[in-house]
Symmetry: C2
Subunit: 480 residues, 2 copies
């Protein structure tokens, strides 16, 4: 393990973070909320710390997967540690646990909040809170499309077989190039959403903040009642559309922009993603139409919004789905685990993995009938290598084990069934709102201290595709 | 597909069933409840039907796995269809759905009941009800130790690597021999339990019925308050001991009887099984001691009973665990899915499979660190073949999918969260009592009609190791 290289890169990343902390200051001055000092001091501390660690260490050639795991995990951790400074120093969130929870929730694009009254926060701090989402989303795109394939972790290897996009085979030489292309796409789509939200009546501040929340599939809002507070069908549909884009593989967007207009519809995963949205919306729509809205357009708007918000793991809300039937809530609960497409900013287990699990079951049934026929698992025309299948299966089991352990801990802290299930599902899948005491109209303020740390850990584990973090707990990782 | 062979064997099995129906008549006469007519007529109908189908068909040599799947699935189905005749004809359970549900619950050794007042049933019928468990248990032992390995289904292949017991490699030649040995062990242990329960104050009728329920890990009782109605620590511990034996691989018992006294402690699965009991009892014991019993012996007795009853999927009760904390209930809920050892009468996913899943995750983590080192998954000193690992993984995913679909259907029928989760978990794992509306003090009478059929299907699927049934839904199964 080249500790020096790892710390060197972390120092560099912190310097970027410090620069990002300066951006909200424009809104501090514009709105005159007086929160610029906290942001400035936070940026200063982060910059100095980053600069010093960068300078006292040096970069050795040839990063191996081992260093990769550490950089990713400690990268997100250190962003959350330094990123919570503005909340602490401004007094917006006085408790360190709460501030860390909120920042981890931001950078992991979860959107779970301990804030009871969001609207009382100064604008600079609110902007920083939303910006952590957007930065986290940038990190995730590069992570899933450039870094994880290099580390040998499943999601994108599957995708590589399907769409040969701008996917790096090695970390060092091509990562910068890949990152630039993908960030270009990310910025372009974000800009489009800002304009469309602004046309729908939001001011620039709100357009930006909600775009950050959408594009990162995060879910932080500037309003207590989330997107629902605007009561606008236009805004709802704009956000639905961009949540779908954010939950789609960014390599497909890249191909689309390059002129390959049918890229989306050649992707099995994307079609599966759309089908899931359709099926879930019909099941839930039947319930919400007959028991709540009794009006087709309104049912469609409210149902589609919640289905897309939870499937893409954004977590924005326009309806209190805890008022819906248990069937609808259970469907939403299952959607939470499916998540976005591989290579998107969405969390959860990823559509591609679920698709592969289903295919794997069918191939096992075939094998029972024809024990001597060796057939690989296929997605579309592509045979998926056995190692990739193994990796996805290992991911699924580990995910389920973590979910069970998480619920066990939450229950031991005294939370009830719905809250325990909801809080763990909403954090490990990076959604935000869950069920029960952490449902769409509640927040995480009431979770016991230990619970907040456990949930923050689950956000990190879920966001970094589980193994990136878990592997650091393996003794053989630390051995020479 | 040799339909003729399949029907031929089913006919033979039905003739055995008819003979079994005559046994309870002894108790009908002894107690003078007048239910002997229903039993006699049922036996007659079953015998005639079995004899005719046996005679008009003939057995072709060489059964293939294809026929094996059909015989097993349709065997359990036809036993449940004919086995419910005594309930219907005696008027004990007037509804066909209810009678079928109760009988399927018996033969699958589930123990889920639609009866609100068990004690009002005539003795012959009650005896028949418990006997269905014991017959089901016999079937399961032969199924898991002799038939399933032949069909290529996972659980026992794993065990074969661990303990080379009396396991048949081919169905036809050695199945009778294997069955005889295992049934000998089953009868011997059953006899021991009958004597010990009788010494504890039960009469012969109750000793037999509760032995049937224990040895099959079924859970039907002759009392409304289950084992708890005796209020005897001695009886509780006898039942605990025999539930553990019933949840253990019968090949180990066979080796023990043959003089290999350390057979149990060489089995990784058995040690894992005991560890799970220990860990769960400690976690739950802390809660039940501090919030309920405040007395060490009573806490131990009540906690251990419930842990063993649910882990082995017996489902007997001595305490209303729904009064315990959500942590305790959640631990019990997880235990339900683990189940007994492979080759036992226990249901659930089986300890061996869980053990393998955990090992698989570790091997995947190792592979991420050393991508080029090809290491098989090991249990003890044995490398598990990749095909067997695949099969277990496929089993796990299918089991989870069925659980989710089951909960979805139950929720659509209007059941609440706890009841939906509890009913599906308690049937697919072949336990009996669940949570909420089907908790330990309730029964399945209130489940809607469609729900009863779905749950009966889940009992069958869970009991027959999922694939045995699921494969029949594959179009390629029915193709030439």
């Amino acid at each position: 393990m080249h500790f020096s290289s790892v710390i060197h890169i972390l120092g560099l990343l912190l310097m970027f973070l410090a620069i990002a902390m300066l951006l909200p200051i424009a809104f501090s001055f514009y709105y005159g909320d007086g929160d610029y000092q906290a942001l400035l001091i936070s940026a200063g501390i982060t910059l100095v710390f980053g600069f010093v660690t960068y300078k006292v260490t040096r970069f050795a050639q040839d990063l191996r997967p081992k260093e990769g795991f550490a950089i990713v995990t400690f990268g997100w951790l250190s962003f959350s540690l330094f990123g919570c400074l503005p909340f602490l120093l401004s007094g917006a969130i006085p408790s360190f646990t709460d501030a860390f929870f909120e920042t981890m929730s931001g950078f992991t694009t979860t959107g779970a909040s301990i804030l009871s009254d969001i609207e009382e926060l100064p604008h600079g701090i609110l902007f920083w809170r939303s910006l952590t989402h957007w930065i986290g989303g940038m990190g995730i795109i590069v992570l899933s499309l450039a870094i994880l394939p290099f580390l040998g972790i499943g999601g994108m290897q599957l995708f590589k077989a399907e769409v040969p996009g701008p996917v790096a085979d090695k970390l060092t030489p091509r990562i910068t190039e890949t990152a630039k292309i993908l960030w270009g796409v990310y910025v372009l789509i974000s800009a489009a959403e800002v304009v469309l939200l602004w046309l729908g009546g939001m001011d620039l501040f709100e357009s930006l903040c909600h775009t950050f929340g959408t594009m990162a599939t995060g879910g932080f809002s500037t309003r207590n009642a989330s997107i629902g507070s605007y009561g606008s069908a236009y805004i709802d549909y704009v956000v639905i559309f961009f949540m779908i884009l954010a939950g789609t593989n960014f390599a497909l967007h890249y191909r689309f922009i390059k002129g390959d207009f049918r890229a989306y519809f050649r992707s099995q995963e994307f079609l599966f993603f759309l089908s899931i949205i359709g099926i879930a919306a019909v099941i839930i729509g039947i319930d919400t139409f007959s028991h709540h809205y009794k009006d087709v357009p309104l049912t469609l708007q409210k149902t589609l919004f919640q289905v897309v918000a939870l499937l893409t793991t954004t977590g924005y809300g326009t309806a209190d789905y805890e008022q819906w039937s248990f069937t609808s809530q259970f469907v939403l609960f299952v959607l939470m685990f499916l998540g976005g497409c591989a290579g998107s900013t969405g969390g959860g287990m990823k559509i591609m993995r679920i698709h592969l699990l289903v295919k794997f079951v069918f191939s096992e049934i075939t094998r029972l009938l024809h024990p001597h026929a060796v057939k690989p698992v296929r997605i579309g025309p592509n045979a998926i290598p056995r190692d990739v299948v193994s990796n996805v299966l290992g991911f699924f089991i580990t995910f389920m084990l973590l979910f069970i352990l998480g619920v066990l801990v939450m229950s031991a802290l005294g939370l009830d069934m719905a809250t325990s299930f909801g809080a763990v599902a909403a954090t490990i899948n990076n959604i935000g709102p869950g069920l029960g005491g952490v449902g769409p109209t509640d927040n995480y303020a009431g979770i016991p201290l230990v619970g907040k740390w456990v949930l923050a850990f689950l956000m990190l584990v879920g966001r970094l595709e589980v193994f990136t973090v878990i592997i650091l707990f393996s003794p053989s990782y630390w051995r020479k």
